[in-house]
């Protein structure tokens, strides 16, 4: 019985010890454990697998995936970061730039601005195509000139009073439809996601007049194409008290963990500690610094329960991003399967 419990712990939990982490790697492959059938079974997977959305506010999404392995969870994280396509400024045609921001710095900054345009409506640009066509390019114009405000008070030193248009914001970028884009996208409102991104500062007489081409790309190529502010995951914490902990030790234990993890209950007049919500813990491992508590607690993580946190830059809502990521993984698999079928094997 104890041996089975130990085996189960090895299979299901990543244990955080005082000086290291144990059972890190996935070992549940067929043949490793006698008595366990670890071969891939779609039905067994479907029974055990579930997705729970915990929180969805605006651009942030927190959801749980239970029943998958680290390899797959990491694949989704990597796809969210690097392979979900978006539109971003790629080519900047500078007609006039007399500001103190150099052309290439200005172009770099413009590229990093997230553009609210659904990338699924556009195609990738052909390699070697310099001009761009209406199905793969969005054109924006930024034309702004700073001038002096003659009505300003004589002694004023506030730039907001003295000058007009001295701050170039992303709201000054205007969409210039190419070809038949006005017919293709009649209701579309292509603009940067945020209006208040400061691009450059000007003084009277300085002018910026640029034309920008947005193309579809992926984060692998340049980080500006990444659709997520970040996407990360962590494993569900699992805290077990190996012995009952009471009174002062219970108070100390509560302080060792993040607030809300350990709660103290009154049982027959004594204060007893209980694990209330292990999910909230950030695992600072403060417990291991106290000799009296070190051996009374087991810190572990549940190996197949992933808490994903996806924050979008605003181009696509985060649940759409996760769906797109899954579609991309399916597309990759399908592509290789098609190639295997088409090319004969010797």
């Amino acid at each position: 019985m104890a041996a089975k419990r130990r085996t189960d712990e090895m299979r299901d939990r990543v244990v955080l010890g005082e000086f290291g982490v144990r059972n890190v790697h996935t070992t549940d492959f067929p043949g490793n454990y006698s008595g366990y059938d670890d071969a891939w079974d779609q039905r067994r997977f479907e029974q055990a697998f579930r997705v729970d959305v915990i929180r969805e506010e605006g651009d942030e999404l927190e959801f749980d995936m239970v029943g998958i392995d680290a390899a797959i969870a990491n694949a989704f994280r990597r796809i969210l970061l690097a392979e979900v396509p978006t539109m971003a400024v790629e080519k900047v045609f500078v007609y006039n730039n007399t500001s103190i921001v150099q052309d290439e710095i200005l172009a770099h900054r413009l590229g990093l601005i997230p553009i609210r345009a659904d990338p699924r409506l556009f195609e990738y640009r052909n390699q070697g195509d310099e001009e761009g066509t209406e199905i793969d390019t969005l054109q924006f114009q930024l034309k702004i000139k700073c001038s002096r405000n003659s009505q300003a008070a004589k002694e004023s030193s506030d730039p907001n009073e003295l000058y007009f248009n001295h701050k170039v914001y992303s709201k000054h970028m205007t969409w210039v439809p190419l070809g038949n884009q006005t017919d293709l996208f009649p209701d579309a409102d292509f603009r940067p996601v945020h209006d208040d991104i400061l691009i450059a500062l000007l003084r009277p007489g300085q002018e910026i007049d640029v034309l920008m081409h947005c193309v579809k790309g992926i984060g692998k190529d340049h980080a500006k194409f990444s659709p997520v502010a970040t996407a990360s995951y962590r494993l569900l914490p699992d805290i077990t008290l190996l012995q009952p902990i009471e009174d002062e030790a219970a108070e100390l234990l509560q302080k060792c963990f993040s607030p809300g993890v350990i709660e103290i209950q009154n049982v027959k007049g004594k204060k007893v500690a209980r694990v209330a919500n292990a999910r909230l813990d950030t695992f600072s491992r403060e417990v291991f610094r106290h000799e009296s508590l070190k051996n009374l607690v087991r810190l572990a993580r549940v190996r197949n329960h992933y808490i994903f946190s996806v924050e979008s830059t605003g181009i696509l809502p985060p649940d759409v991003l996760v769906s797109e990521a899954i579609k991309i993984l399916m597309g990759k698999c399908q592509r290789f399967l098609n190639e295997l079928d088409s090319v004969p094997m010797e």
Partner: protein, 121 residues
């Protein structure tokens, strides 16, 4: 650059253009090269990295007929992986590769559906 599609179908020109562009972007003529000796096979998958490599390795290892499966990135400056499968006995090694891809697709499909159900609620 040739597409390995089936026979040409009568599609609208816009759709054809769209398909052509997507294929050209992702599809290179030698997406995989193979060295094989029956029950051991090494694929070189171009334009891939840990994302597909690790996920596919996990799915192939779950196959009880597979004796060895691993992937490596030959050089970090080149985006390609060597993916090797070795099977017990006389099973041709391409089969676990196909099965692994199908399983990964099936798994993604299930996750997609589960995610969509979550969205609806």
């Amino acid at each position: 650059m040739s597409h390995s599609n089936g026979p040409a179908r009568a599609t609208s020109s816009a759709l054809k253009l769209s398909i052509a562009r997507t294929l050209e972007h992702f599809f290179s003529p030698h997406s995989w090269q193979v060295r094989t000796g029956g029950n051991c096979i090494t694929f070189t998958l171009l334009n891939e990295d840990h994302m597909l490599g690790n996920a596919l390795q996990y799915m192939v290892m779950k196959n009880p007929d597979v004796e060895f499966c691993g992937y490596c990135i030959t050089h970090p400056s080149e985006s390609k992986i060597n993916f090797q499968i070795q099977t017990r006995g006389a099973l041709p090694a391409v089969e676990p590769f196909q099965k692994g891809l199908n399983d990964l697709m099936g798994r993604s499909m299930k996750e997609y559906r589960a995610q969509r159900e979550e969205e609806i609620q």
